[in-house]
Every structure is written in C-alpha cells, then in structure tokens.
C-alpha cells in the first residue's frame, strides 16, 4: 500500500497540521511516512501545502509529480492541483471555499462543507479535522483512534482539553461523507 496525498489551502487553515497529524497517526500504526511542507512566506498567509506519503514500504521520493488524493481547501489550490490527481484517484474538497467546481470525470470527487460544519460545531479551527475525517471515511488508511493518538503528540499539553472536540470534528467529517456515499 502506498498513498500519495497533496493537502493544500491557505496558511492558517491547518493544512500543514492536517498532514502532520495524518503522518503521525500512520507512524503510530507502524507505517512509513514522509511529510514535505511548502515553507517560507506562506507561514504568514498565502498558499500552503504539504505532500504526505503513507506506505508499507520505504518511501523513495518525498516529492512527486501526481497524487492518489488531493485534499483541497481553497480555489487557488483547486486550480493548481485538480490536474495533478492520478486517473482513478480522489479529490476531496471543502465546498464552503470553492467557487469553481472541479470538472474532471476520470477521478472520484467528494465535496464536503467542512468550514460550515466546523462553525456549526462552534470550533471553526477544526475545519481541517472535518476534512481529515471525511477523507479517512473514504480511504481508511489510518484509524481515527490513531489520529487522536497523534494529536496527543502533536498538540501541546495545554490544548489536550480540545481532544474530544477534535474527535467530534473528525466524526462529523466521516458522517458527512458516509451520507453522500449512501446516496450515491
């Protein structure tokens, strides 16, 4: 198994931490991982992305040309990465932040209103966890429990009181995708 993912959006949407959490969760399950962030001025806003690779085997390149999955949080990222999803791959995006919908027909496309859902949960910062939950419902490459275990490692202890709210956001994302899959 190898899953090559691009996660992309605005700085501040939790793009890099989503990739980190996913990587840590995978590592806790004994898998190989590679997490390659864009770095520099994007830390102060602007575009941010990270390539996250999860594999059973040693990973050759942390930088790749096309992706099994794109997790997209804003329009510039959609414009940049829709064409980079491998045929038969998955594109999952936050429909709250996208004006021009993806048009490809040779990949699977899932839209979830992640920012709206996070606001409904009174935890707007957790939009990345809603997206991650939705992605993991479709591609269960890492267990939700491992993601929670990862958050315990990634988050400073003073934020551990937010773990239940993060789980709720992950599960809300799962639920949104589950409903769509049933309808489809």
């Amino acid at each position: 198994m190898i899953e090559e993912i691009i996660i992309s959006g605005f700085g501040g949407q939790g793009v890099l931490s989503m990739g980190q959490t996913l990587s840590y969760g995978a590592a806790l399950e004994g898998k190989e991982i590679s997490w390659m962030p864009s770095y520099g001025p994007e830390m102060r806003g602007g575009a941010a992305n990270c390539i996250t690779i999860i594999s059973d085997k040693k990973i050759s390149s942390p930088i790749i040309s096309s992706y099994d999955t794109a997790i997209i949080l804003n329009q510039p990222s959609m414009d940049k990465f829709e064409s980079k999803v491998k045929p038969g791959g998955l594109l999952i995006y936050d429909s709250t932040n996208i004006l021009n919908k993806p048009t490809r027909t040779d990949i699977e496309i899932i839209a979830i209103p992640a920012a709206d859902e996070a606001n409904r949960l009174n935890f707007s910062k957790a939009l990345n966890m809603v997206m991650l939950g939705g992605y993991l419902e479709k591609r269960p490459v890492v267990k939700i429990d491992s993601i929670i275990g990862a958050l315990k490692k990634v988050l400073p202890e003073r934020y551990h009181n937010l773990l239940p709210a993060n789980r709720q956001a992950l599960e809300a994302g799962q639920e949104l995708v589950r409903k769509q899959l049933v309808v489809a």
Binding site: Q20, S23, Y24, A27, E32, I33, S34, W35, M36, P37, Y39, G40, I59, S60, S61, P62, I63, I64, S65, S66
Partner: protein, 351 residues
C-alpha cells in the same frame, strides 16, 4: 531495548543528534531554512547537555568554533548558503590548524542572498575548497531525516579521527521535511585531545594552535602533512549507496534530495521497462570516483541530477573519463523537479 520512533523535521533531528552526541557547544546565527537548529538547541541544550550560543554574526560563530575546538571541545555550527560564505575564512583557518568540528550547511538557492528554497548550488564551495589554500573538508550529504541525525554522530567521529572539519551538506527540503527517526542507544565516548590548549602545567609541553607559518619550509611541511591526511581519508572514508545498478543500462548519479527523487525516477523507469539504476554518493569528499568508473563500463549513459547548473557532473566526468556520455539535468532558483520531469529527460537519451 525498544527504540522509540519519532517524527521530526530534518533540522530538528540533526539538532537532537547533536545533544545526544554530547556536543559541548553550538554557535550559530539564524537564517532560513535552518533556523530550527538554533531554536531547538537554544530550547533543549540547557539542562541536558552543552551550551547553545547565538553569535552576533556568522563570522563570529565560526571563530567561536575555532577557539572552542582549539580548547578541545566537541563543537558545531550550522547555517545556510550566504551564512556559510561568510564563514569561509574561519573554515580555512580551522582546516589549517587541524581542528575537529562539525559544520552544517542547509543549502538554499543562490548566488547572492538568493532564495530560501532548496538548492544544491553550494557543491563546488563544499568540496573544492570554499575558503583559500589547499585544504579539504570531509563532506557528508544526507538524503533523509534519519541521515540528518546519523551523520552528526558519524561527523563528530570522523572529525576527531582525522582532526579535520566535517561538513554536513544538506538542503532546505531535507531540513524542513518530516520523517521517522531513531537515535542510537550506545554510549558516546569522546576521545582524549592531548593537543588541545587547555592551560600549561609545569609538567607538560606548551600546546600551540595556529594557522600561521611564515617560513616557507614550515608551511610546506604543513601542506604535505595535510595532503597525506587527505590521501588517507580518500582511501578509507568513501561512502555511497547503489540502487538497482546490477543490471542498469542507464545510470543516474545524484546526492541528497535529488537522490531521493532520482530513486523514484528509477522505480518509474523500471515500470516502463527501462533498466535504470542510481548511484548515490554519500561522501562528496572523498568522492566515489572508482565505483562510478567501474559502473561506466556497463552502462550506456549517465545522467547527473542536481539542483544547480551542473556542478557534481564535473566529478562524474572525471570518474567516467570519457567511457560513456554524461549529461546533466537540474532546476535552479529553489524549484524542485518532479520525477516525471526527470524521467522525460532521461528518455531523450534512450535509443
């Protein structure tokens, strides 16, 4: 005993390894993309091991290294390309005075202030001198977060063994990316340094550390001793990795991040039925000339992949000595080519 697996950025793994290798002092000055090293050590060293010090400039940092290494300390500095340029005078002095120390360059795009994005444009500077005079650094090129940690231990060991500065030549991507890393569990034993200037008691000879030898005969003596040492280093410390070279018809040669991408190129090429292989130099000085020369006997074409305008290709050509064509593929300015792009270039040489 079970070793704990951690996820760390390359820069953090390197910094953690420095503490575990019992680095006595770190002198540095912040610059992207390696500032995590200074940040990590400023936070972690106090109370664990060693002293971190933010110098007023890179020039100050390298001269603090000169002094502290002369006093027998296990010392390290790190910077990125423009900062390493500032250090070159000090590095030449340290090489002349034969002081062990560890230098780290997390290479960014240049020349000039350049860009903060990854590059391999400092190859020449690292392996062909950089500073003035006849000297060599031992240069190690990590291509993973694990090697960022491993080469700290190896670097200190080689520095002590040969009384020579060791340079870890990394790049912005290896510094910033996160992978799994484990740290060795063995006890760190630092060698005695009877040559160090630690104060003269009535019972021992005076130790002098200098790079100034006004008399030509004395200077040449030093030059010859250094040359002899570099010869020994070249005989004993060549390191490289071969990936699917056994039956390769097309050989890629790349180090650091480029080697990781080139590994993927080999995988993609093999899927298409192209017999590609990869030679990854791990030590850039001393360079694996012989192994490349032997591989040149059985391949049709050699492609070097570098994030620069073509620097290491000169050493590959020296090694190949005209046996087969050698070409270069690279991107600059902080742009990293994807595996597809490199494969496309490789395919133009396949008849």
């Amino acid at each position: 005993m079970e070793t704990e697996v951690k996820l760390m950025k390359g820069n953090e793994a390197l910094a953690e390894a420095a503490i575990q290798a019992k680095c006595d002092a770190y002198f540095g000055y912040p610059i992207t993309p390696q500032s995590e090293v200074l940040e990590y050590l400023a936070r972690e060293m106090p109370g664990r091991y060693g002293i971190p010090l933010q110098a007023e400039s890179e020039v100050a940092a390298i001269n603090m290294i000169y002094g502290a290494a002369g006093a027998g300390g296990r010392v390290m500095t790190s910077s990125s390309s423009p900062g390493i340029s500032l250090m070159q005078e000090g590095i030449s002095y340290i090489a002349a005075a034969e002081l062990p120390c560890l230098l780290v360059n997390v290479n960014r795009g240049g020349p000039g202030l350049g860009t903060i994005q990854p590059s391999q444009g400092d190859y020449f500077q690292s392996v062909k001198g950089g500073g003035h005079g006849d000297y060599h650094l031992i240069v190690l090129a990590p291509s993973s977060v694990q090697e960022m940690a491993d080469f700290v231990f190896l670097g200190f060991e080689l520095a002590d063994k040969y009384r020579n500065p060791v340079l870890i030549l990394s790049d912005g991507a290896i510094g910033q990316m996160m992978e799994k890393v484990t740290f060795p569990q063995h006890e760190i034993v630092k060698p005695q340094k009877p040559w160090a200037t630690t104060g003269k008691s009535p019972y021992k000879e005076r130790n002098i550390i200098t790079s100034l030898h006004i008399q030509p005969e004395k200077m040449e003596e030093v030059n010859l001793r250094l040359t002899e040492k570099y010869k020994k280093i070249s005989e004993n410390e060549i390191r490289y990795e071969e990936i699917q070279t056994e039956d390769a018809e097309y050989l890629l040669v790349a180090y650091g991040l480029s080697a990781r991408i080139s590994h993927k190129v080999v995988e993609l090429a093999r899927e298409k039925g192209i017999k590609a292989g990869l030679l990854r130099p791990i030590s850039l000085y001393p360079y694996p000339y012989d192994v490349i020369n032997k591989l040149a006997d059985k391949v049709k074409h050699i492609l070097t992949v570098e994030l620069n305008a073509g620097q290491m290709i000169e050493d590959v050509r020296l090694a190949v000595n005209g046996k087969v064509p050698v070409s270069h593929y690279g991107r600059m300015g902080g742009i990293i080519p994807g595996p597809d792009e490199i494969l496309k270039n490789l395919e133009t040489y396949i008849k």
